[in-house]
Subunit: 217 residues, 2 copies
């Protein structure tokens, strides 16, 4: 470790199932991509994040692999587990009080959807607006605009837990207090539709509070 | 404006000099590139940053252009002015108490030096370490590592106002309290040498304090 005070993530998964080595690796890589690699607390990637998956085969039986009829069930269980662990990391984020699932759809590609979601999830202005229970969709729009995703302002829809905040790039008529009500929740979704294509991505983020600064000073 | 509470920059420069239109535009673009476009408070690019330069020609004489003997002096004066204005924006940054000049050299290209400097200048962990007067070079190294610049850890030198914090990617023997002394200053330089080539870039950044969060909540 370069700097022990730096945030790190060490994740160890264990199963008694017998799983073929390559299949286990592929399963883990896919599950990590949908979970650990989709969270952000402060945008500072750590130097030594690690996920290890150990299968000892104690359960016996034919080793699991893509050819095994139980494989989809096994993969599904692993994905559920890693998703749960990943969200716990966000909830435990330094000073975090809210977990926000950012769901971008309608981007030109999945990669652009990912870029858009990460820009929003790493924007200090967006994260402080969540801390302040302010559904400031202008800040969301701003982050989308400077992301590398192709965005046309007058096509963008933004909503919080299903309540429209912006439609076609303009304020929706949802009463502001209704939107604020969503932002008081411990968990909520920010849905963004760019209406540019079929690309989608989820990112799991949190608010940024004064406590974050105190902890990291 | 999409959201009036969002940070914006409107800069108006006026001169009585007579300056040819294209020359003035080129001079301003070059000066803005070295000043306004090199500052970061929180990494959130604004939606309506503007720099206007008006030359009324009241001073008379042959209009200035690249062909005029006084041109280099004029350009130098404009660059000094825009640099000064840009640093004032950083010093006035929401909750900022320190202005940090990040000077990266030894990158493979200027573009990589720029990417490295911006990664450091936008890292919340680096910015909170400045707020806490902690010369945490590990966080600087971490930001360099996740930047798009090519970095080899054991070549990196990091110093604060000339005092080595890291040499070849390892802690230098400067006493920690001497480094902390630098970080108590209102202005200091963070010098980073990647030893990978000849690319250079400067970025002007500030610390991130609890006040930033309070203002933006």
């Amino acid at each position: 470790m370069i700097e022990p005070r730096m945030a790190t993530m060490l994740s160890f998964l264990l199963t008694d199932a017998a799983v073929e080595k390559d299949a286990l690796q592929e399963c883990l890589a896919g599950a990590a991509d949908k979970s650990f690699n989709r969270i952000t607390v402060d945008g500072d990637r750590s130097t030594n994040d690690t996920v290890l998956f150990l299968a000892n085969g104690a359960y016996g039986g034919l080793p699991l692999s893509a050819a095994h009829p139980d494989w989809p069930q096994f993969v599904g269980a692993v994905e559920m587990l890693t998703h749960d662990l990943a969200l716990k990391i966000v909830r435990d984020g330094e000073g975090a009080t809210k977990v926000v699932t950012i769901r971008v759809r309608g981007a030109r590609t999945d990669a652009e959807a990912d870029a858009a979601a990460r820009a929003v999830g790493n924007s200090l202005l967006v994260k402080t607006s969540w801390a302040g229970t302010e559904p400031n969709w202008g800040r969301v729009m701003d982050a989308l605009g400077y992301s590398t995703a192709r965005v046309e302002q007058d096509r963008v829809d933004i909503s919080y837990d299903g309540l429209p905040a912006a439609r076609n790039g303009c304020a929706a008529d949802t009463p502001i207090d209704d939107l604020r009500g969503v932002l008081t929740r411990r968990d909520f979704c920010l849905d963004i539709d760019l209406h540019m294509g079929n690309g989608t991505a989820n990112v799991y983020a949190c608010d940024c509070t004064e406590e974050y600064i105190r902890i990291n000073m």
